[in-house]
């Protein structure tokens, strides 16, 4: 049996859901070891109906995560996942499909999550176990790491349990598990912490899961959140070596922020009319209030024309900011979109300020572009705009792009930002957009260091990920990883050089090459291979970013090969790989492919299933229409008989 004795006992628990599909167990275990999270979600289901029907396994996975494994067991037949190069996986899948022995795993996009959904058609009495694994790096934002888990079991579950284990070698400063699932679950999340370890457990009983006393529906529906921070004693960062790989987390605290020169370039074209403009204005009110006395700023708003609130940077005094707020409030969006001209004007303004010595030479100069659409006026060729901006941006300037909604070519905004020492963020055009804009601004509003270079002895390390960074912002974290030479030193050292508000810094960090492995070996609920996977995770993400900036097809191909090779070695489902899920005999197959980016989509902020244009096929035809199977066949029927002849598949690229 694929069920434990405990679960078999629980079969006695009657959970009437009407459709004959009972989820007996839904267990999530996340192991976060040194910011690297490995999540396993396991669900065990029985079709208790008197007929064959489809069983769906739905899971929302953070977009920043890579799926690393998926297995399924149907009545003792195990399907095992393996990551393959996309065309290979598709070809194998196509063969199975041709023989009518294939089913699809669908992945679609939502705001920060993507849906992983698989569906199998099984005879009555079938027992199915789904298990998915995914990995992600915890990103420090505003001084906190946040682990989010989407919990939507859809039904009452006799054995429902979430365990989040955190292990941070340098110690945990705090762990919070804010009750994001609603008042119903107040006090049900248990947090246990010691110096380096934390365990967050959520295990509601059947009764506690019920929406009301006699309800048969579950109240578990939402995002389960765990927030934590590590202890930081050392401005040189936390250098950790494990299993032949090193990871260096650099997040100095207690440094004064650098003054900044900031130009807000705001799209006021017709498409911004309504909620988007209202939310932008709201956000700008707060952002302008947050500017410091040492900061300089200006505002450029553009549609087909480009207007400047002030032709030059002005100090962020209360008079100037209140003038700027008034100006923004009076904006009436209309007309086209001339991104090229607006950005060039901003670079010109920054250059002038620098040339005339208006700004502090150690200050940080930033352009924050807020736009909701593609250029329609002036230069509209994206590559030409990219080239123009790059040419005019000085090394001291950075461009941050915020793309509101889905009418905007986010890839372009991301490219242009990455190419100019900045970053991009998608803003979902809903009621929350104002907060999203403010949050983004907060992340970049306190630059603490410039020109950060994190170096290691050449003979001690190889394959080091990006180790030079233009800026370090308060509350964030710079992470560098690499391989440690096997016959190198017993202590790995690092030297970090950077420039702060008033001084040039050179800091050192060091780590014993063996110590952490010895400690990890004694720990339960840790991921001893974290450093290797974290290094691979960072490398693949960097390669994906590099790929989007590649100037020629040949360069792109070369990077793609590297990504594929890394993804195969580390079993990551990336945009260049897919997961083929095969039965042990290899004659039945499922394919997990990466989803399309939400580009040019109409339904910003809408629910996952409500989005249009993502699925090339409709929902699985068998999903809502149970078909009766002969009882005899249902008990021991091989899956091949139960799998549909028709398939569903997400296409991309």
């Amino acid at each position: 049996s694929i069920f434990t004795a405990d679960e078999v006992e629980n079969e006695e628990v009657e959970v009437e859901t009407g459709d004959g599909i009972h989820i007996y167990s839904y267990k999530v275990e996340a192991r976060i070891t040194s910011r690297f999270a490995h999540t396993t979600i396991c669900s065990r289901v029985v079709n208790t109906a008197q007929h064959a029907q489809s069983v769906v396994f739905n899971m929302q996975i953070p977009k920043s995560a890579f799926i690393t494994n998926f297995t399924m067991n149907v009545n003792g037949i195990t399907f095992i996942g393996s990551v393959k190069e996309k065309t290979v996986a598709r070809s194998l899948y196509a063969k199975a499909r041709a023989r009518g022995k294939a089913a699809g795993i669908v992945r679609t996009n939502s705001n920060d999550m993507e849906m992983f959904r698989t569906e199998v058609h099984v005879p009555e009495g079938s027992k199915i176990q789904f298990e998915i694994h995914y990995e992600e790096m915890m990103q420090r934002k505003l001084g906190v790491y946040e682990y989010n888990l989407n919990l939507q079991p859809g039904k009452l579950v006799p054995q429902f349990q979430v365990d989040v284990y955190i292990y941070e070698p340098k110690g945990i400063a705090f762990v919070r598990a804010p009750n994001s699932l609603g008042e119903h679950f107040e006090g049900l999340v248990k947090v246990t912490t010691s110096n380096q370890k934390a365990h967050v457990c959520f295990k509601p009983t059947l009764h506690e899961q019920r929406k009301c006393h006699n309800c048969s529906s579950t109240a578990v529906d939402g995002v389960f959140t765990v927030q934590y921070e590590v202890i930081r004693e050392d401005n040189g960062g936390d250098l950790q070596v494990s299993n032949g790989y090193f990871v260096h987390f650099f997040a100095p605290i207690n440094l004064s922020p650098l003054p900044k020169n900031i130009i807000f370039v705001i799209d006021i074209s017709g498409s911004m009319w309504g909620l988007k403009m209202k939310q932008t204005v709201q956000a700008m009110q707060t952002i302008l209030d947050d500017l410091g006395h040492d900061d300089f700023f200006s505002i450029i708003d553009f549609n087909h024309n480009v207007r400047c609130w002030s032709d030059e940077l002005v100090p962020a005094t209360s008079i100037q900011t209140s003038e700027a707020k008034k100006y923004i409030q009076e904006i009436q969006p209309n007309g086209g979109t001339n991104i090229n001209e607006a950005l060039l004007r901003a670079t010109h303004m920054l250059s002038n300020a620098m040339n005339y010595g208006v700004t502090d030479p150690r200050s940080v100069s930033m352009i924050i572009l807020v736009s909701d659409g593609d250029p329609t006026v002036g230069e509209i060729k994206l590559s030409a705009i990219q080239k123009n901006v790059k040419k005019r941006m000085r090394d001291e300037f950075s461009l941050f792009s915020l793309g509101i909604g889905f009418d905007v070519d986010y890839d372009f905004l991301e490219r242009i930002a990455l190419e100019n020492r900045g970053m991009a963020q998608r803003i979902y055009a809903n009621q929350d957009a104002s907060q999203q804009l403010r949050d983004f601004y907060q992340q970049v509003s306190s630059p603490l260091l410039r020109k950060i270079l994190i170096e290691y002895p050449d003979e001690a390390v190889t394959d080091v990920t990006q180790n030079s960074f233009d800026k370090y912002f308060s509350g964030s974290e710079l992470v560098v990883a690499g391989r440690v030479e096997p016959h190198g030193y017993s202590v790995l050292q690092s030297v970090i050089t950077a420039s702060s508000g008033t001084m040039d810094l050179s800091l050192q960090a060091e780590a014993d090459v063996h110590e952490l492995d010895e400690i990890l070996a004694l720990q339960r609920h840790v991921n001893p291979g974290f450093a290797r996977q974290l290094w691979a995770y960072i490398t693949v993400n960097q390669l994906l970013a590099e790929r989007s900036l590649a100037s020629t097809a040949a360069k792109k191909r070369k990077i793609t090969q590297k990504i594929v090779s890394m993804a195969l070695e580390h079993q990551f489902v990336t945009p260049m790989t897919a997961m083929l899920v095969e039965s042990e005999s290899g004659d039945e197959r499922l394919l997990a492919d990466s989803p399309k980016g939400p580009k040019q989509d109409c339904c910003a902020g809408s629910s996952v299933m409500g989005r249009k244009g993502l699925l090339t096929n409709g929902p699985p035809p068998w999903a809502q229409s149970p078909t009766a199977q002969p009882t005899a066949l249902a008990v021991k029927a091989p899956l091949v008989e139960a799998l549909p002849n028709r398939i569903t598949l997400v296409e991309n690229d």
Binding site: D234, G236, N254, T502, M503, L505, L507, Q508, A509
Partner: protein, 244 residues
């Protein structure tokens, strides 16, 4: 705290203790012309020892007025303040900071050096004791080379000796302790009864220290230092010494 003054011309080392109260700030170096001041704040041991509280330096502050730069070193942390910019470091790290001629180097759990325009340098040494020690507390040592190029206006408990006083030691005779001969010292117009002894320099060996043989001045350096040691108590960590 104990003080060791090396007098290079007469090749002598002189030492004395200053016994004051925890919390008091002693001026060590004050050079108003260069705009450099070094003050040390005393901390006390956890318990009295024979009715007396031993005191140590718990915080050393170096202030360079021309750059409005303050380096405050305690046994817990190091803060570097420049105008409204403040950076905090701990003894857990190793690193260097440079700004407008001021260079600060931290050697993890060991020492900090601060140099100004490569003309003046100071070293602050960290002494960690066993946390559960019934009496002792963590404390700091302060070292400054006699080659520092201070202005003639330099003063302070240490600063006054950059201009080397003339010292004559004579009438050396056995003391009550056979290992510690006694003598008479003539300095700054005073004749002082001094005792030969030794004090520790912890730069080379942080645990056991290196013995520095010196003539010990009794009564908190009375007669060897200008005025009374209380004249060197200042109100703030960045206060210059007000000369009478």
């Amino acid at each position: 705290p104990h003080f060791i003054i090396h007098l290079p011309k007469c090749k002598q080392d002189i030492c004395f203790n200053i016994d004051s109260e925890p919390g008091k700030i002693l001026n060590l170096v004050s050079d108003p012309n260069l705009g450099v001041v070094v003050n040390g704040q005393l901390i006390g041991a956890k318990k009295l020892e024979e009715t007396k509280t031993s005191t140590f330096f718990g915080t050393i502050a170096i202030y360079y007025k021309k750059q409005d730069m303050k380096v405050e070193i305690s046994t817990e942390r190091i803060s570097v303040t420049n105008g409204k910019h403040a950076h905090l470091f701990t003894w857990e790290e190793t690193g260097n900071m440079t700004q407008n001629g001021v260079r600060i180097s931290i050697k993890k759990d060991t020492y900090i050096t601060v140099s100004v325009n490569e003309e003046i340098s100071f070293m602050v040494l960290l002494h960690r004791v066993w946390k559960k020690h019934p009496v002792n507390v963590d404390f700091l040592g302060f070292y400054t080379p006699h080659t520092n190029m201070f202005s003639p206006e330099v003063h302070g408990l240490l600063g006054q000796f950059f201009s080397e006083p003339e010292v004559k030691v004579f009438n050396v005779h056995p003391g009550s302790d056979p290992k510690k001969p006694e003598a008479t010292m003539e300095v700054k117009g005073h004749k002082l009864a001094v005792t030969r002894g030794w004090q520790k320099d912890y730069r080379a060996d942080k645990v056991y220290g290196t013995n520095v043989y010196c003539w010990f001045i009794h009564n908190s350096g009375k007669g060897f230092i200008d005025g009374h040691y209380k004249d060197y108590i200042v109100p703030h960590l960045d206060s210059f010494l007000q000369r009478p």
